[in-house]
Amino acid sequence: MTAPARPVLAEHNAAQVALARIEAKRHKKRRVQDDVVQAAHGGGGRAMRDLIEDLILPAFDHAVAEDDQARFALSDMAALGGQLAFTTDTYVVTPLTFPGGDIGSMAVHGTINDLAVGGAKPLYLSCGLILEEGLPIDLLRTILTSMGRAAREAGVRIVTGDTKVVARGKADKLFINTAGVGVIPTGLHMSARSLEPGDVLLTNGTLGDHGAAILIARGELELASPVMSDSAPLHELVQALVQAVPVRAMRDLTRGGLAATVNEWAHSANLGLCIDEPSVPVRSEVQGVCELLGLDPLHLANEGKLLAAVPKAHAQAALHAMRRHPLGENAAVVGEVTSAHPGVVTIQTGFGTDRVLDMLVGEPLPRIC
């Protein structure tokens, strides 16, 4: 005996509707309901998909690849130059937000700057997130939004990423890794090994702002000072500079500050570098923090400053090119390359004396008194 046709059809239709409802619900974009990051947000399941769709993709303008890799046409890149530049850096700053920036914008600026100081036009970034259980979702959203904004403003795209959640206590709230790809125009080659005696050293502005801002933002010093981080993308400034003058070497002055970079250059080039202390631009607020703590602004980190070496004949043109850009208006000649004391950096003080300017051993630690 066969069943009546009509009920079967009705049942079939009802099942279809129910399945469609389930599928629709499964694919419906949901908002992350939790207040804090939980283990499930890194588990590869729905919670993670929600996190990606609700927080990450909108922040990055949905530019992140849905496949496991981003893909680019080689011909487009080749049109920009002859060398691919590729870099990576990981950001672990405390606190996550600070006057002048946050870990997200800093991760974008830092990687752009790593590409820029090699002369590359930055194109694409990746974003690897390590989240600690308990990180407030609102804070994460703020940081990701800031990261996306920083990328948009700099004209680069965040095209691939990864998210992991680690148990509470296994990380310090949020770590970000960014890798970056860019293209170096044909004919551009900058390296500390190209330095020659007589070259002048220039920086694009005041030193130590980021390091001082972070020290104050940690709130351990009971200091109130209007110091802001200098976090900024330097690629346009660099392009203006390399178009104006031949640049022998360039480096962004991050951890270890100016002192670390000049020491690395002196070592690589086996030449002496001499810094003229009174010429180094330092904000008086930063100098004040350093005086209180027994620190040297030349050892403090920057996130929007670079050091460039150019042949002496081009020093004024280089200064002029930098000062025309908003991020270079306080640019200054701060020293020169010499053949004296190979491998050693000296600093000429305002008293006409000279001394060694060494790298810091470990991190900057305040003195007792």
């Binding site: 351990e220 010093l221 008086s284 100098q287 004040g288 005086e291 027994g294 004391h341 050693v344 000296t346 003080t349 305002g350 008293f351 006409g352 004396t353 000279d354 001394r355 060694v356 060494d358 051993v361 470990g362 630690l365 305040p366 003195r367 007792i368 008194c369």
Partner: protein, 383 residues
């Protein structure tokens, strides 16, 4: 910067150097060419001298001797071991000033212990440690009390506050030291080679100027309490040299804008209320000095880390190769030490003079290598 740039004025520095040169030319003919050794007692002065390259401005006959006034430099190996022993005890948060982290003990440093899992935290003042104790009632929070009379008052005031609040999980491991017994021990050393002193400005803000009079009266050495800016240091040197050429030995106060004759009585009262002198305290390089260290008064016994924890309390000899003692007494310049710049560097310090940036050896290594390079190669120190 206001209140700083005035004391870093190069033309004024040149005038002071000219004064010093002129004074030195007035020395008796028999002394012309002989070194005049002036000790800057305080590590803060050592730092300023190197940072601004002051030594190279001075006549070559003036030799600066870098004294024992860096609290990190004089911390003996045994006390570092004790600190590590406390820091690695169950449930402890150990709080220290930053520059003590890397001082070597006999096996490791506090930084090493931290890397191995001890909860060691850098603080900027003892009140930060007390705040940690309040925030972590289930942990024992120990503050590593270090420093001369400069920092002892803040440790004392923090302990008074802890007592008022009845905080039961806060402890102090006191390694505070006092400058006068150390100076007396130095002056009693037969091998001391020092003609005059620049006195510690920060310590003197607390103790005043009077406690130094015995140095001038009994030991016949000029003593000038000095500030820390380059012009302060140069002016103080000029004052010591003036006394020397005039055959005088008195205590003078160059740092009168901050240091009064009597010092800070409130700070002195706090120190005496909380601390009492130890019978003996060991100094790295200088050995045991009577009544030179401070321990907690019996009233504060419950805050005393040395009573709350089982510390080894062993006297550990300084490493054989280390000549910190000779450096601190002016017998050796840092670069004349056997291990300076080879086995002993800021990355791998053997002696504590190589650890803190106020230490004579670290200052020479980081800032003054040009001077030692020039001396070693027979060149003039002056650029």
């Amino acid at each position: 910067m206001k209140y700083v740039s005035e004391f870093r004025d190069p033309p004024a520095a040149r005038r002071l150097v000219a004064t010093i040169e002129s004074l030195m030319s007035r020395r008796p003919k028999t002394l012309q060419g002989a070194p005049l050794k002036i000790m800057e007692v305080c590590g803060g002065h050592t730092h300023a001298i190197f940072k601004f390259g002051l030594e190279t401005l001075l006549p070559e006959t003036i030799e600066l001797v870098h004294g024992p006034g860096c609290p990190v430099c004089v911390l003996p190996v045994g006390r570092v071991d004790d600190a590590i022993s406390i820091a690695t005890s169950e449930g402890v948060i150990f709080c220290t000033y930053g520059d003590a982290l890397r001082v070597p003990g006999s096996r490791t440093s506090l930084a090493g212990a931290k890397a191995e899992g001890a909860d060691v935290r850098t603080v900027y003042s003892p009140t930060d440690a007390l705040a940690l104790a309040r925030a972590n009632p289930s942990r024992r929070v120990v503050f590593f009390g270090l420093g001369f009379e400069t920092t002892a008052p803040s440790t004392a005031l923090t302990l008074l506050q802890a007592e008022r609040e009845g905080v039961s999980n806060f402890f102090v491991f006191s390694n505070h030291v006092t400058i006068i017994p150390a100076l007396r021990a130095l002056l009693d050393a037969e091998d001391l080679q020092v003609d005059g002193f620049i006195g510690p400005g920060h310590v003197s803000m607390v103790i005043g100027v009077e406690p130094y009079h015995f140095i001038a009266e009994h030991y016949r050495r000029p003593f000038v309490v000095s500030g820390f800016e380059p012009l302060d240091v140069l002016q103080s040197i000029a004052m010591v040299v003036a006394q020397h050429v005039e055959g005088r030995a008195v205590v003078e106060n160059q740092y009168s804008r901050l240091v009064s004759t009597q010092g800070n009585s409130a700070a002195q009262t706090a120190i005496h209320e909380v601390f009492k002198p130890r019978a003996h305290f060991e100094w790295r390089g200088l050995g045991s000095i009577a009544e030179s260290g401070l321990e907690l008064q019996p009233r504060f016994a419950r805050f005393d880390a040395e009573q709350a924890f089982r510390v080894p309390a062993l006297s550990v000899a300084d490493p054989k190769a280390c000549q910190c003692g000779e450096v601190l007494k002016g017998q050796l310049r840092p670069y004349e030490c056997k291990v300076f710049g080879t086995a002993c560097t800021p990355e791998t310090p053997i002696g504590s003079c190589m650890v803190s940036s106020e230490g004579a050896c670290a200052a020479y290594y980081s800032y003054g290598r040009l001077t030692s390079l020039r001396r070693a190669s027979g060149l003039k120190v002056h650029p």
